[in-house]
């Protein structure tokens, strides 16, 4: 799936709302948009598997960052993309068009029509700053 900078910034705006660090935001964005496997830790997290998440967590992950990410997942993530291992693997296998439709439905990205109009209007957009 190809998204414009407008949609990308819209998605990353949601991360700034929850102060999600960039190390966490990038794999989540790639998982949602492109359906990339998010790795052991994030897969376990998305599948609600606490034990596996802790076992595969990197030592530099902080509880504070984890709280922010969990807040973001609860608030912004489409239910189709998390809650158990089945849903996570299904999300990665979804065709681009389906993934795009779900992300548009939850207003995480703009529709293709909106993207075209934004690009033609040359609307200014600022890349959100994540830490």
């Amino acid at each position: 799936m190809n998204i414009t900078v407008y949609s990308r910034n819209r998605l990353y705006e949601t991360f700034t709302k929850w102060d999600v660090p960039r190390d966490f935001a990038d794999p989540m964005a790639n998982y949602l948009v492109y359906g990339y496997e998010p790795g052991g830790f994030f897969t376990a997290l998305l599948a609600n598997d606490f034990f596996a998440a802790i076992q595969s967590s990197h030592p530099s992950n902080t509880v504070e960052a984890l709280k922010c990410l969990v807040g973001w997942i609860n608030d912004c993530m489409p239910p189709e993309a998390y809650s158990n291992y089945n849903r996570v693997s299904e999300w990665c296998r979804l065709p681009d068009g389906h993934r795009r439709a779900i992300l548009e439905k939850y207003e995480l990205i703009y529709t293709e029509q909106e993207e075209v109009m934004l690009a033609l209007r040359s609307e200014s957009t600022v890349e959100p700053v994540l830490f």
Binding site: N2, I3, T4, V5, Y6, E112, Q113, E114, E115, V116, M117, A119, L120, R121, S122
Partner: protein
């Protein structure tokens, strides 16, 4: 539908001329102060979009629409334009893949 003479004129004068002429035309429709002027602006825009798609190539068509939106600030709504789906189908990929280039038009 354009006459052959009008078509030839538009081709000779080029996309920039057409962009400004049609932009002014749409602005005039919008500023006429009548009720339903947005509706008539959208239907006029539909006619112009069909002409653009018929006469000009991808880049020129996109440049014309960009002139309407950025120079004349026309409040075009993609969901109210009947031809927008056709326009999107033809140029959508080109626009979304070249946002940086389009900004420089």
């Amino acid at each position: 539908m354009m006459s052959e003479h009008q078509r030839l004129m538009a081709l000779l004068k080029g996309p920039d001329w057409y962009a400004h002429e049609s932009g002014k035309d749409l602005l005039a429709v919008l500023n006429q102060g009548k009720r339903k002027r947005y509706k008539s602006m959208n239907s006029t825009a539909d006619k112009h979009i069909l002409t653009i798609m018929h006469l000009f190539d991808n880049e020129q068509s996109v440049r014309i629409l960009k002139t309407w939106l950025s120079t004349y600030k026309l409040p075009l709504d993609p969901y109210r334009l009947k031809t927008f789906d056709q326009f999107h189908e033809q140029f959508g990929k080109f626009i979304t893949n070249n946002t940086a280039t389009i900004e420089s038009y």
